[in-house]
């Protein structure tokens, strides 16, 4: 399954790929435009784009010469939603654990 959560996370693990996605959030861009701010080769950028494409985070245009890249936010939304829900569960769990520990320790000292 090319677009599951693990693939999304793996694609997001690299700072250059995150920077590329941030750039694409502002609109479509060609490989040349994406490579400009980075001190890495076009080939390296192309490799990053392949990873993002496999994770369904971007699509490439059909124009053989330019193949503009476009953001596909759905997998990211899914990942963000899952993380947000999961983090909230643990935060609330910690809150209750904290409260419970206070109550136990109050009982001990009285």
């Amino acid at each position: 399954m090319p677009d599951d959560l693990s693939v999304t996370f793996a694609a997001l693990a690299d700072p250059t790929r995150r920077a590329i996605l941030t750039r694409l959030a502002a609109g479509e861009a060609t490989v040349n435009e994406l490579a400009e701010p980075f001190s890495i080769s076009l080939q390296a950028v192309s490799r990053h784009l392949k990873v993002l494409e496999r994770a369904s985070l971007i699509t490439r245009g059909r124009d053989a010469q330019y193949r503009p890249c476009k953001l596909q936010p759905e997998p990211l939304n899914t990942a963000a939603d899952w993380i947000r829900e999961h983090r909230q569960i643990w935060e609330e769990r910690f809150d209750r654990l904290d409260q419970h520990l206070r109550e136990i320790q109050k009982g001990d000292s009285s």
């Binding site: 599951d4 959560l5 939304n77 419970h100 520990l101 136990i104």
Partner: protein, 141 residues
């Protein structure tokens, strides 16, 4: 940012106490269930050894619907760490208790092997979130 998640909190309690509270069913039910649920006391099975069961059922206060949590302990090292793997998703959680001195403890939950193919139907319903939200999310990474 990888397929791993970490949750950290410092507590005003010694780590021996936190270790005991986390793995004692009577204490466990006081904090485990997410908001709006309770963890049925007689559903809690905690066998604190490698290969032991770690199971409970969280019940919705609103409609009584139940969610079964099923996991197996991978390792227990009192009072510094324990870990479990959830049966269905395969997600692994490593819990570490760090003694901060003066009776304070840092609890770190490190989760890895985040479930493959985890996709909520709601998230797949096709809503397109604004690019602002997307950018904010990236900024948080």
């Amino acid at each position: 940012m990888t397929s791993e998640l970490t949750f950290t909190r410092d507590f005003d309690a010694p780590r021996e106490l936190i270790f005991k509270v986390f793995l004692d069913p009577d204490h466990f039910v006081k904090f485990w269930g997410p908001a709006g649920t309770h963890t049925a006391p007689d559903s809690v099975i905690i066998e604190p050894w490698a290969g032991g069961r770690f199971e409970n059922t969280m019940v919705s206060n609103a409609d009584g619907s139940a969610y079964d949590f099923r996991a197996t302990f991978l390792a227990i090292d009192e009072p510094t760490s324990f870990s479990w793997r959830e049966t269905q998703s395969g997600m692994t959680s490593q819990t570490t208790l760090v003694d901060l001195g003066e009776g304070r403890t840092r609890l770190v939950i490190h989760q890895s092997d985040v479930p493959e193919g985890y996709r909520s139907p709601e998230a797949q319903a096709g809503f397109m979130t604004s690019l602002d939200r997307f950018a904010a999310y990236l900024a948080d990474l």
